[in-house]
Symmetry: C2
Subunit: 234 residues, 2 copies
Amino acid sequence: MDTTGEVGSFFKSAFSVDNVIFGFDGGDLKVLLIQRGQSPFKDKWALPGDLVYPNEDLNTAAERVLEQLTGLRGVYLEQVKTFGAVNRHPLGRVITVAYISLIKISNYTLTAASFAQSAKWHSIDEVGHLAFDHNEILESCLRRLKRKVRTAPIGFELLPPKFTLTELQQLYDSVLRLPKHLDKRNFRKKILSMNLLVECSEMQEGVAHRPAKLYQFDSDKYGQFVNEGFIFDI
Amino acid sequence: MDTTGEVGSFFKSAFSVDNVIFGFDGGDLKVLLIQRGQSPFKDKWALPGDLVYPNEDLNTAAERVLEQLTGLRGVYLEQVKTFGAVNRHPLGRVITVAYISLIKISNYTLTAASFAQSAKWHSIDEVGHLAFDHNEILESCLRRLKRKVRTAPIGFELLPPKFTLTELQQLYDSVLRLPKHLDKRNFRKKILSMNLLVECSEMQEGVAHRPAKLYQFDSDKYGQFVNEGFIFDI
DNA sequence: GGGTTTGGTGTGAAAATGACAATAAGTGCT
DNA sequence: AGCACTTATTGTCATTTTCACACCAAACCC
């Protein structure tokens, strides 16, 4: 949420979007935050967001925020929940619609927007106190991600197009944070039995050990299977 | 959404809540609709809803709409999705937050609000073309209900406090609309094995056949079990 | 008391889950 | 070349869950 200058007087009521942008680099699950340049909450970390323009659809606004920050278009975006407590914004009545987006962290280049200079990936459990009610928003989006990653093939949105099964498993491990880690053999059996992954001819490169096979997610096949009643489940 | 009279000039942007109120009477799943008294969409059926007051939380607004229409308080209410297409409302920019509520249909008495005179239960598949984007909203809420009814014990919200297992099964059948009906023996085994139902001493009365045992849902137990890691699943 | 209607119950086959460990294929170093 | 090191890859078995399926019981009505 940006609340600069001249909009002050406009603040009787307004709506905004806030975007919880998730990324994964092989370690922890990450979220992209920006450091606010202005009051209120100057210097605090916050979710990237903006007011919705008068002639802009909500989804469009969320896409715009994402593109301005990351330069990315056409990535996974999902509306999660709307936050509208009367006093959630100190300057007026602003309700905000929270979105999740999932991006391939390697695609992200910190170049695009004016506010991008202060954008930074944070490990999901090294996020401190955020501006506004953004901690609450983040919690909701994280819960949603945890559920959805098991029931729809959206984990792949966080990985490069070609990935190893170990990378995929690590992704699930770090999103789900189950008390016990997933079992390697059972995980591979399950994911391969869905027939949604196609083996690439190439292998992993540049590792100091036996290289793994690379796989790709076949979204066309997934579409077919869904039509036939298939339900993704991990 | 109510858009009467003097608010016309206020319409640059506003937010509203719309409430998809579900009920069940043993037959089909029902939804409570009102017939609009004013333009736009005069005489069309619509979801009950209203603008959110300046000092009112979103949830509070949804509770208010529900109470004004049904006289009920403290019933199940869940935010589902926010609809904000630029032209979804002909008179201005209005984004609306959609809620589901689940009520015990026998508790509903058509007395409360001014607009209640034109409220009526509709079978879920005898809903025609609704005002605004309300068909789309209804679809979203119905999908949500179908998912959630399997993963949380919210079906009971639609039944009287004491119910038979057959009633419960019919509820699931009419919400889920699976290609094959649920199997009686398997359903009873599953639901009873959760230990969430307590058998009442009373029996069903006034039926022209063998009366069934009545059960109650034990929400305290459910709370305990959840703390111990239990996940409701049907 | 016979007919009708719904309530209530158990078993077995098939599938899914979950625990578990040994060999294979590379790299880096000597 | 050989060895140490690291990660990749694969199958079995016991347990649990799922799913299909049919008959007697208990109440009412006449």
